[in-house]
């Protein structure tokens, strides 16, 4: 396996671009976009609920010590 076997130009340039390159790019693009989006969404959700929890426990801590747990 070497850099001479790099097949980049074959499917991303010239006449093949019109369909093969487009289909390959679309497949990778859509799949990776969805996975990155879902990961971002999950992290945002986790961050939000962690903030809410810390806010709630700081509000209620003096009144109810059991909520600190």
């Amino acid at each position: 396996m070497s850099f001479s076997s790099l097949s980049f130009p074959a499917w991303l340039s010239g006449a093949e671009w019109s369909h093969h390159g487009l289909y390959i790019t679309l497949s990778y693009g859509i799949s990776l976009f969805f996975f990155i989006f879902l990961t971002y969404q999950a992290h945002q959700r986790l961050k939000k609920i962690q903030q809410k929890l810390s806010q709630l426990s700081s509000q209620t801590a003096p009144a109810s010590p059991s909520l600190k747990k």
Binding site: M1, S5, L6, S7, F8, A10, W11, E16, H19, H20, G21, Y23, I24, L26, S27, Y28, I30, S31, F34, F35, L38, T39, A42, H43, R45, L46, I49, Q50, K52, L53, L56, S57, T60, S64, L67
Partner: protein, 261 residues
């Protein structure tokens, strides 16, 4: 020495699950990124083109992991359903709720990338072929599960109905696996089996192993992160409810004291 059963029940506790899985997350996501980068870059730029399909076979490095994830997520969903119905594990219900959307996304991506692969190689975007149709049914099963688990005011009823659907739908998994053997299919037969040597060249197989591993670890990280969020959300609402109850009982006590004096 604690038995497997007691260890299993202890680990299925949401608090213990959080404690055990939290330190694993950075490693899981790190290895996922590493394997995905190796698999996808190797598959896109370094593997030789297929003699018959040319460069279009590079879609395999996305399509096959998506197909694997769609089936693996559903298998996990069925296991969660079983645990929920037999032991009523709250963690199993939460896990089922979080696995569903990831499995549905994987099944949808498997169908989309398959379609994009099918057009130049088969000459059609879609065919009512046994393999394709059974994966489409899997996608609808996921959608049904997602809808059903949230459909009732009483979450317990929704979880039970969705668990029954998940178990019944598990019958689709062997149909997907053996569809290419049982029926004449446009879809190619399995290139990798447990009993025979792979029919795919090793130069094409290595990047596939890396990308499948990468996507599997990535999906596991995603599901665990979502599960962490779900556990904390549940904890938050329980705390809120507890606070409201305490406030209400305090108010009641005050009014009762007011009545006395």
């Amino acid at each position: 020495m604690p038995s497997f059963s007691s260890w299993f029940h202890r680990t299925a506790n949401p608090g213990v699950f959080l404690r055990i899985t939290k330190p694993c997350l950075p490693f899981l996501s790190g290895f996922s990124l590493l394997f995905l980068s190796i698999g996808l870059i190797w598959g896109l730029f370094f593997t030789p083109a297929d003699w018959q399909q040319g460069d279009m076979m590079r879609v395999m490095y996305i399509h096959v992991p998506m197909a694997w994830l769609a089936s693996a997520c559903y298998f996990s969903l069925a296991i969660c359903a079983l645990l929920s119905l037999i032991w009523r594990h709250s963690l199993a219900d939460l896990a089922a709720m979080e696995i569903g959307p990831i499995g549905a996304a994987s099944a949808a991506l498997c169908l989309i990338t398959g379609s994009l692969w099918g057009k130049p190689t088969w000459g059609t975007w879609w065919a009512w072929d046994a393999r394709l149709t059974s994966v489409l049914i899997l996608f609808f099963l996921y959608l049904g599960h997602i809808a059903l688990i949230r459909a009732f005011d009483d979450p317990r009823r929704g979880q039970k109905a969705a668990a029954i659907l998940a178990l019944a739908g598990a019958l689709d998994l062997p149909i997907i696996k053996f569809s290419v053997q049982w029926w004449n299919s446009l879809h190619q037969a399995d290139s990798i089996t447990l009993t025979h040597a792979p029919t795919i060249s090793w130069s094409l197989l290595y990047p596939l192993i890396f990308s499948t591993l990468g996507f599997t670890l990535g999906a596991s990280t995603l599901i665990i992160t979502r599960l962490h969020a779900a556990i904390l959300e549940k904890r938050f609402y329980n705390l809120l409810l507890q606070e409201m109850i305490e406030e209400k009982s305090l108010q009641k006590e005050n009014t009762q004291q007011g009545d006395i004096f």
